[in-house]
Symmetry: C2
Subunit: 351 residues, 2 copies
């Protein structure tokens, strides 16, 4: 996916040096938000949110653990790195306004590759109205490491935490689940085939949707805007990064409640179902444990049901119970199972 790279002259990172590199990558940045008082180029960035609370979230992405440059184009990687951080800010019902980006870069990497990474970073900033205000660039003895901190503002009364879910609250989720995981499985499968025979071109026809879920996730700003519009403040919220099961259990543990969710309510895209079937995986298991969907899972008071029931981007998948520590999953055949916080590895072992 980086095939056109050879046509361009590849500058050496060493020629630029650390300061040259930062200057080069950040020279075109213009601050857009009134709250961004100072950006890149001083000891620290300066921000001012008048009468708002400040929300801060940070993520570290490591090559070989969180991404594989064999199938992750640099521009997508930059975009995704920002997207997943903004997702955490939205999950507080807050608005991201600034990010800092720190990179550790091996000197095997070309300046052009880093330019593409920054293109993706700045594209996401642009789309979500966020300023890049600072960071750090250093060498790496091994792979690429990206550390992003997102900073945003929220109204004290409207911030939503993980610990506010109450008995009888409805459990809701935006969009659909399991797609990002199926995208990853397809990419991993084609990587194996490619390793065995580099002549075979990958075949992703019909799977654009799940690939995009994996390679270019979008944080759900629109859902936060919807809350404002319909006048709903969730009682608790989290973004689905580890998987529905694991993230729902986070909410229940921190809220000291239990839950019941229904398999037939879990939103799945047909592409996800097709891909899962082709790869002999249970799509529900993928949705429960796959992770990386960056959808928002939240609970609302029963009183708000009328306001949310016609919102197409949201599905009600169950409800909160007073049975602390009991996390129930009701299958299509109406069997009741216990949810557990397993990760991706567990899904694949079950296969």
């Amino acid at each position: 996916m980086l095939e056109d790279k050879n046509e361009k002259p590849v500058s050496e990172l060493e020629e630029l040096g650390e300061f040259g590199l930062i200057d080069h990558l950040t020279e075109n940045i213009k601050l857009q938000n009134k709250s961004s008082k100072r950006g890149v180029g001083d000891d620290a960035a300066v921000i001012e949110y008048e009468n708002k609370q400040t929300v801060v979230s940070t993520d570290l992405l490591v090559e070989g653990i969180h991404f594989d440059l064999l199938y992750m184009p640099m521009k997508h990687l930059g975009y995704k790195a920002v997207a997943v951080n903004l997702s955490d800010i939205y999950a507080m019902n807050a608005a991201p306004k600034q990010i800092t980006v720190s990179l550790a870069v091996s000197n095997r990497m070309s300046v052009e590759a880093l330019e593409e990474l920054y293109e993706g970073i700045l594209l996401a900033c642009n789309i979500y109205g966020v300023d890049l205000v600072g960071g750090d660039t250093t060498s790496s003895t091994s792979g690429l490491i990206i550390s992003i901190t997102a900073i945003g503002e929220g109204e004290k009364e409207k911030l939503v935490y993980r610990d506010g879910a109450k008995e009888n609250d409805l459990i809701c989720v935006s969009g659909d689940l399991g797609g990002a995981f199926m995208g990853l499985q397809l990419l991993e499968r084609e990587k194996q085939i490619f390793k065995e025979n580099a002549q075979i071109q990958p075949d992703f026809s019909g799977y654009d949707y799940v690939l995009e879920r994996q390679l270019k996730p979008e944080p759900r700003k629109d859902v936060i805007d919807m809350f404002e519009e319909i006048g709903v403040t969730p009682t608790s919220m989290i973004d689905v990064s580890d998987g529905l099961s694991s993230d729902l259990i986070h909410i229940c543990r921190q809220s000291e409640v239990g839950c019941t969710i229904y398999e037939n309510k879990i939103p799945l895209d047909f592409t996800t179902v097709n891909a899962a079937e082709e790869m002999k995986l249970d799509p529900t298991v993928c949705a429960l444990n796959g992770g990386e969907d960056y959808e928002l899972m939240f609970t609302i008071s029963l009183d708000d049901y009328e306001k949310i029931k016609d919102q197409k981007r949201v599905a009600v998948i169950g409800h909160i119970t007073s049975d602390k520590g009991s996390y129930q999953f009701v299958s299509k055949s109406e069997q009741v199972q216990e949810l557990s916080a397993q990760g991706w590895d567990a899904v694949l072992k079950k296969k």
Copy 2:
């Protein structure tokens, strides 16, 4: 320096898992600052500075680039990682209040080693009155990576940037310079000897001061407190992380001015001078280019000279000129040379 490690049972990171590890390392954290509304355990931390501006700085430390675990004890590493970030906030004339800490950890590392790292992190937090409010912990395919973001508050009228130096302003520096670099040189020398013969014990007698400068630097909160006390707001400020030369040139470039500094005014500790002489290095060159001293370099208006002249922790080393792009260094023999922004490598090549 980690020799007592073998006496304790070494738990495996895998047993704890990611969430277990975060819980384990952060379970005893108590938020101290009124502005820390929510800490570890949600999608994001929440902060509220009433009527103040928010200052944010971030650093990425990579094993093999920024630190060597062979001679850097984990507790010191944790302390230093926090210290260098706080230093950036102080360099804005602001007060750090929160940090986030992200770690990428190889599974070769023991839980005990990470506990020591956190001990150092929390010790620095405690001493400087900062809350650890968030972070991310993940695996690493290679060495240890530490990414810290420091967040602080400052009064709009008192924040100090790099671009405010004016003609005739005095150039000042706190403490003394070159020590951290000499500490590193001693550690590197003993590492070479140790590699050749593991039986030989390192000999650091008389050099405690420079070792401490390298292994456990202290950010200059006291200098910021002094500004408040004596009623001085510097016109520009930076912390000396890259070396006096390089950091002074940052200030001059951003302020669009020139400078003249005097060799005989540069503050050196006698331990630094002794160590440099023993290693056949010029102590002034070490002070100019060594870096990592985390002292504050700042400029003040001539009018403030009376207020600062008796402050023992500050030395006036030169002045700002209108000669943009001209960075003059006057040697002890009164020769005028041009300063250049060289790093540590250049110092060692000159040797």
